[in-house]
């Protein structure tokens, strides 16, 4: 079956559902149910994370092909199989998902007091969907997980969200659904043309360039919304602001990666000609996203909104890196996705810490927090610095590689990406200064408690990762080097083949 000898990926995907079953089975008064739900969810997600560490140790980094492969008949008559596997591109995202879920559950330990049972169920189902999506090697199976994410996310934002939660939940759902259904049509077309939806087999398919354009546009509709790219990013600030802290963490940490992952997994290998054709447009949109959303972020008065806009800017760097089709650009994009997954999640958690205490996300509401909560200020600073890509922290290697890759393609594109780093420093430091430094303007802030042990536990793994990724990025980069090299090579081979055919 695979190098571990048992269906590891399926176990990782569906283990959280076992937790759901346990939580559903618990009877008793509300307090018992709530505490049972919390502990069950935490343990389930922790066990899932422990299991997923097998991937970290047993993954063969020199192998570009899919590993831990599982295959079962599912809709055999239609060429759809339940096919799971990971390669260098997806393996770390599986780990990211399994890491962030227990962190989310821990971070909402006290913040969520209503309908705890449903909350935990939603998060566990969400974990199933996320892990399944990164492992799926069949397009239909992928789509099922990709779309299935919307159901728990809609409920998380809508039930436990802020004031305008209904609007935000609907916007998130309908926006992403609209993009996805167009992709569904493209998947169906591929299915019909190839007679299979197996991704590995689809990679061998040569699609005529004219068709590639249409399929690319359909994929783009879905992935660009998910990334999100300018100008279809407007659902993100709303969703982030209204979501509960843990919802924002998952949204920023994992869900935003789904779009970029889609580009890497599907658009690039399946549609090389169209991808190359559309690359200049993607560059343009990415640079607009970087510059425009950075400027917008400068003007925000809501902490979560500011970080949400910074996410759009960071994802602009990611899409830019992907469409350079160079080893550096792609590796950088992947690394940025990972580091952004860690850092922006941590930033949302930082906001959550303040929000839990003061119940306000307004920047003006704070000031001088450093004097009251010194440990918190330090943690917050670490992640702020990582977000502005300070060398030695997680944000830097990825962005540097993207800029290098972009330089190879076009120096101006590299300039656009670099602009993002400068503006990023501006808005993040501005935020940090206003919240943490300065005089204490509100007297009620003086009573704030510094980080609790639970919060230390939440931040500890993220701090560790942020420093590790900054100091020794190679231990992460080595995971995707082989797969990225294979992807780049195949892309250029396909392009030259297409050029030959064109002659």
């Amino acid at each position: 079956m695979n190098s571990v000898g048992f269906p590891l990926l399926s176990l990782l995907t569906f283990l959280p559902l076992a937790g759901v079953a346990i939580i559903l089975a618990v009877r008793g008064d509300e307090a018992t149910v709530a505490s049972n739900a919390r502990w069950t969810a935490l343990w389930t997600s922790l066990i899932t994370f422990m299991l997923s560490l097998v991937l970290w140790f047993r993954f063969d980094k020199n192998e570009a092909e899919f590993q831990f492969v599982e295959r079962l008949d599912w809709l055999a008559d239609f060429g759809v199989t339940y096919h799971m596997g990971v390669d260098g591109i997806s393996v770390l995202f599986v780990l990211l998902s399994t890491l962030l879920t227990p962190i989310c559950i821990l971070s909402s330990w006290e913040a969520v007091q209503t309908r705890v049972r449903e909350y935990m169920i939603a998060f566990l189902i969400l974990e199933t969907m996320m892990v399944g999506m990164f492992c799926a090697l069949d397009f239909v199976v992928f789509y099922i997980f990709f779309e299935g994410v919307l159901i728990p996310m809609f409920l998380i934002i809508g039930v436990w969200g802020g004031q305008r939660r209904v609007y935000a939940a609907f916007k998130l759902f309908l926006y992403t659904l609209l993009g996805s259904v167009l992709m569904l049509l493209a998947i169906l077309l591929l299915w019909y043309k190839a007679g299979t939806t197996d991704i590995v087999e689809l990679f061998t398919l040569t699609i005529p360039p004219s068709l590639q354009t249409w399929i690319f546009l359909a994929f783009f509709a879905s992935f660009a919304v998910k990334v999100p790219m300018w100008p279809v990013h407007t659902w993100l600030p709303d969703a982030h602001v209204e979501a509960p802290t843990a919802g924002s963490v998952i949204l920023a940490g994992v869900l935003l990666k789904m779009g970029a992952y889609g580009f890497l997994r599907f658009s690039l290998p399946l549609l090389p000609v169209a991808s190359a054709e559309f690359a200049p447009w993607i560059f343009a949109l990415s640079i607009v996203a970087i510059v425009y959303t950075s400027l917008v972020a400068l003007a925000q008065e809501d902490m979560k909104k500011l970080i949400a806009y910074s996410s759009v800017a960071h994802m602009g760097i990611v899409t830019l890196g992907i469409f350079t089709f160079t080893q550096q650009g792609l590796s950088g994009a992947l690394f940025t996705m990972l580091s952004h997954g860690v850092v922006s999640s941590a930033l949302f958690l930082c906001v959550g810490v303040l929000y839990d205490r003061v119940h306000s996300r307004e920047i003006m509401r704070y000031g001088g927090v450093a004097k009251i909560m010194p440990a918190y200020a330090l943690v917050f600073m670490l992640f702020t610095m990582a977000s502005v890509a300070l060398p030695g922290l997680a944000g830097f290697p990825g962005e540097l590689l993207v800029i290098l890759g972009a330089w190879k393609v076009n120096p101006w594109v590299a300039f656009g990406a670099a602009l993002g780093m400068i503006l990023g420093a501006a808005y993040m430091l501005y935020l940090y200064r206003r919240v943490v430094f300065g005089r204490i303007t509100r007297e009620d802030l003086r009573g704030l408690l510094d980080l609790s042990p639970r919060e230390y536990a939440v931040f500890a793994p993220l701090i560790l990762l942020t420093i590790w990724m900054g100091i020794y990025p190679q231990s992460f980069l080595s995971f995707f080097e082989a797969s990225v090299a294979a992807l780049v090579e195949r892309h250029h081979a396909a392009l030259s083949a297409a050029r030959l055919a064109g002659l």
Binding site: D77, E118, V140, Y143, L155, F170, L174, V181, L184, L185
Partner: protein, 473 residues
């Protein structure tokens, strides 16, 4: 003459007559007994359906094949659950008269006859038996103005549709010289036999059947009847008869008129498009959940007809799967609607569901599953229904249908989500009355099917495939 071919129908008819006698003779209320006896009769019939051999009989009037079997089982399932769901509701509303299950039983008999029809005469007998029974049950709450109005409205428009059907059938008879499906098919094989008159006749028949499946532009009765009729009746309307009528439409178009596909395809494409669009747009502003379900069912029929519109094996296959899944999730959703009672009175405004997530978490969860499934969100069953019809549309190159289909499914997601929103995001109202066990059971079974369908889709998919290949020969 092969009696065996019509054995399920004969047995069901005899049972119906017997149950009628049982209901009339004793002095006490026989509603419960008759319902149980009727459900028993349906179960026996279902068992018989499974044993009937393939073939045509009664001078070619009746046919039995895999397609009929598949659809009959769906109809029997829908009808049986429909009767079960009325048990408690009718008692509380004072509608617990023994005629109710008997009428539904005869309606089911009509549907079975429609499904085994191989001749327009047989079709008409089945169709009228179904319609007459339904006219009566729509107005079953006779002291209620709305219910009486629903029954009358349905009757007047239904009679018009029957007239259209007869007119179309007689035109077909006039031009083809026969009402038998087989001989019509033979006549059409010869290009000289394909006269304009046949097409005109076919259009009339199509209009009549579009009325029965409530496809745009013959949908006008649906919202009013759905709203006015007692909720269990609405549940019955939305399930079994829809399946039967869609199956009949499929048999007529794919069977005898297969050669005229180029003609009827245009009509079905238009009907399908219009139904999807209207079903999506008109439901957005509804306040009454029964009306909303009416528009939703119009939309779903649009999707199902997409499978017919592409006129391919895959399309019919998608249609068969769609109807099966539609039936399952609709029954579950209506179980929730029937359970909506507050202080002893049936309520049906969407706001009445407010805060259900707090007051009745189990029911809210099932309803959420049904709503997401109807919106076509994976991994729920409704997604697979849509997947197959869209696949067929893409394979046939019908991009307009496919694109309009996915766009309207996004629009309709909005109103399905609105119900979820009301249940979970809005402030709680007074709790609904405790629901009877029967409804809990229906919700549970339908909900589990809808949720877990993705694990084992193959059996249903294969059964639908066998049904369709039996139809196309």
């Amino acid at each position: 003459m092969n009696w065996m071919l019509a054995l399920p129908e004969i047995v069901l008819a005899c049972c119906g007559l017997a149950i009628l006698m049982i209901g009339v003779l004793p002095r006490q209320n026989m509603f419960f007994g008759c319902t149980m006896a009727s459900i028993g009769a349906l179960v026996v019939t279902a068992a018989l359906v499974l044993t009937v051999p393939d073939g045509a009989g009664f001078a070619g009037q009746v046919i039995s094949d895999g397609f009929a079997r598949f659809m009959k089982l769906l109809v029997l399932l829908g009808a049986g659950i429909g009767m079960l769901m009325a048990l408690d509701f009718n008692r509380r509303e004072g509608l617990d008269r023994f005629e109710y299950p008997v009428l539904l039983l005869f309606a089911t008999l009509g549907m079975l006859i429609m499904l085994s029809a191989n001749d327009f005469m047989t079709v008409y007998i089945g169709l009228e038996l179904l319609s007459l029974s339904l006219y009566v049950v729509a107005a079953f709450h006779r002291d209620n103005e709305q219910s009486a109005e629903a029954g009358l409205k349905y009757f007047v428009l239904g009679a018009l549709a029957s007239g259209l059907f007869l007119y179309g059938a007689s035109l077909v008879y006039g031009f083809a010289g026969t009402t038998s499906f087989e001989r019509i098919a033979q006549a059409l094989l010869d290009p000289a036999g394909r006269s304009q008159g046949l097409t005109v006749g076919l259009i009339f028949i199509l209009a009549a059947l579009a009325f029965k499946v409530s496809a745009v532009p013959f949908h006008m009765w649906t919202p009013d009847v759905y709203e006015g009729a007692p909720t269990p009746v609405t549940a019955f309307f939305a399930a079994a008869p829809k399946v039967a009528a869609v199956a009949l439409l499929t048999r007529i178009l794919a069977g005898p008129f297969g050669e005229l596909a180029a003609q009827w395809q245009q009509v079905i494409i238009l009907i399908s498009l219009a139904s999807m669009v209207l079903g999506a747009l008109a439901a957005v502003g509804q306040r009454d959940i029964k009306r909303l379900m009416a528009y939703s069912s119009i939309g779903h029929i649009g999707y199902a007809l997409m499978g017919l519109a592409v006129a391919s094996d895959e399309g019919l296959h998608g249609l068969a799967i769609y109807m099966a899944i539609y039936l399952a999730m609709n029954l579950g959703a209506f179980a929730v609607l029937i359970a909506m009672r507050r202080q002893g009175k049936a309520v049906s405004r969407i706001e009445d569901l407010a805060g259900l997530g707090k007051t009745d978490p189990a029911m809210a969860m099932w309803m959420t599953i049904f709503m997401f499934s109807m919106a076509g969100i994976p991994p729920l069953a409704g997604f697979f229904g849509k997947l197959y019809v869209f696949l067929a549309a893409v394979q046939g190159g019908y991009w307009t249908l496919a694109v309009v289909g996915v766009l309207t499914s996004v629009i309709s997601a909005f109103y399905y989500l609105r119900i979820v929103k009301v249940m979970y995001f809005d402030d709680a109202q007074a709790p609904l009355d405790a629901r009877p066990q029967t409804l809990t059971m229906v919700m549970g079974i339908s909900g589990i099917f809808t949720t877990l369908f993705f694990i084992m889709p193959a059996p249903l998919v294969r059964a639908a495939q066998e049904a369709v290949s039996a139809l196309l020969g």
